[in-house]
């Protein structure tokens, strides 16, 4: 049985390390903030210009001048700092963010990612996603393994316009944790109750299996 969006977030939270500066994209990545492991300190970066994003405000503390990159009202954590978007992307482009988590439509065996544009449908724009994937050393992509019809989104080559080329190394889906290296997806973990066969079936890109496939710990 595939894991839920919340469980994907829970699994990704295990990638956080004490002292990390982290950028969480919109959607499932945002949920990761709810599962930061006990006993570790991390700082959340919001690319509009805030380091040290806190939780949502109470109704009385809503401040139109304090939003995150998803345009949601937020608060500041202890030790927060404020800066321009140019400074914010200097941090991102300069590789200062330790971990970036973002969603995708497709990934492929070369580490390419497509996440911003579906030709023929509405083009909303890439926002900061192209900068985030170009700037980060350490990116985790969160996505559904296949679409609702069962078509794989884990491909040999992305079919949609790219967000970034050869930049993705780790993917967490509702079915599996995958590492991308040497032109293939390497299966690291499977979701609880998901068979290796199902993962093979729903992975269109070249897949390398280990002898034993551990189950995601949640």
């Amino acid at each position: 049985m595939a894991v839920s969006r919340e469980q994907i977030a829970q699994r990704i939270a295990q990638e956080l390390k004490d002292g990390y500066y982290v950028n969480l994209g919109i959607g499932i990545p945002t949920l990761v903030a709810n599962y930061i492991p006990e006993g570790i300190e991390v700082m959340l970066q919001s690319e509009n210009g805030l380091l040290g994003m806190g939780e949502f405000p109470t109704e009385e503390n809503v401040d139109a001048d304090l939003i995150n990159a998803g345009k949601q009202t937020v608060t500041m954590a202890k030790g927060a700092s404020l800066f321009s978007s140019a400074e914010s992307f200097a941090m991102i482009r300069g590789g200062h963010v330790d971990l970036t988590v973002l969603g995708a439509f497709e990934v492929d065996v070369s580490g390419n990612i497509a996440s911003w544009m579906i030709p023929g449908k509405l083009i909303k724009g890439m926002g900061g996603a192209m900068d985030l994937v170009a700037g980060a050393e350490n990116i985790v992509v969160t996505m559904m393994h296949a679409d609702k019809k069962g078509n794989s989104k884990i491909l040999d080559a992305c079919t949609l316009p790219l967000t970034g080329a050869q930049c993705i190394k780790k993917v967490v889906t509702d079915l599996a944790v995958l590492e991308i290296k040497d032109g293939a997806f390497h299966l690291l973990e499977r979701a609880p109750g998901v068979s290796v066969e199902e993962i093979i079936e729903k992975t269109a890109g070249k897949l390398i299996l280990p002898d034993v496939v551990p189950v995601m710990k949640l």
């Binding site: 109704e59 992307f89 724009g125 700037g135 050869q166």
Partner: protein, 233 residues
């Protein structure tokens, strides 16, 4: 206005010289930190054929959406325009030319424009549709594209406080694109919530030095919220 005093008292005066066909930078991220009253003044003046450089395009009935309603914008540079149905319609019909630009590249192109740097290399967008037609180069084993800088005839800025000399302070994340844009306009016009005397702002805390600012006006602001997210107490 005389000497170093940048204060003007009417929005008409604030936008004097802004004419059809000009290129404008408009500060803000989403609806946060946008120069609300400068935008409505442009709507009222009815200036057209504008090229706007702004991270977003407002929503249908607020921010730059107000100018889209009246077909005053012919071209826009932005990174994300997903909040605006009118925008979509005008883009698909070809009324509006859209240059989608990655957010960090947009920020840096503006900063470069203000800093006298005509072009720079960045890895952002390499291997994507953004790189089409752009010079690429491999430097120390990584691939980059060359991005030219951006400047504008007018930069329209929202800050929290100004002193009479145009030194600016922004509040919270309403800073966003405003500081770079303030440096990249031939004429930089700033609307603020409060104007204080020169000398009242601590020199250490000034985000935008007055050298970049031509006109300052005090306004009142709706500050509409796009995504009101709250938690229980």
């Amino acid at each position: 206005m005389a000497g170093l005093n940048k204060v003007v008292t009417s929005y008409q005066e604030a936008l004097a010289g802004l004419t059809d066909g000009m290129t404008l930078m408009v500060g803000g991220f989403g609806l946060c930190g946008i120069p609300e009253n400068l935008i409505t003044t442009m709507r009222d003046i009815g200036v057209t054929d504008l090229t706007c450089i702004s991270n977003n395009a407002g929503v249908d009935d607020f921010g730059l959406g107000l100018l889209l309603q009246k077909n005053q914008i012919k071209k826009i540079y932005a990174s994300y325009v997903g909040e605006n149905a009118l925008f979509e319609k005008q883009m698909l019909s070809g009324e509006l030319e859209v240059v989608l630009t990655p957010q960090g590249t947009l920020a840096e192109k503006i900063r470069a424009g203000g800093a006298g740097i005509p072009a720079f290399f960045t890895a952002t967008g390499y291997g994507t549709p953004i790189a089409e037609g752009k010079e690429t180069r491999e430097i120390d084993g990584r691939h980059y594209i060359l991005e030219p800088s951006l400047t504008a005839d007018f930069a329209l800025i929202k800050a929290w406080k100004a002193d009479t000399m145009g030194n600016l302070v922004y509040r919270n994340t309403a800073m966003n694109f405003n500081p770079m844009m303030a440096t990249a306009g031939k004429i930089t016009v700033v609307e603020v919530e409060e104007i204080v005397e020169a000398g009242e702002l601590d020199p250490h805390h000034i985000h935008t030095p007055g050298i970049y600012v031509n006109r300052v006006i005090k306004g009142t602001f709706e500050k509409r919220i796009e995504q009101r997210t709250v938690k229980a107490r």
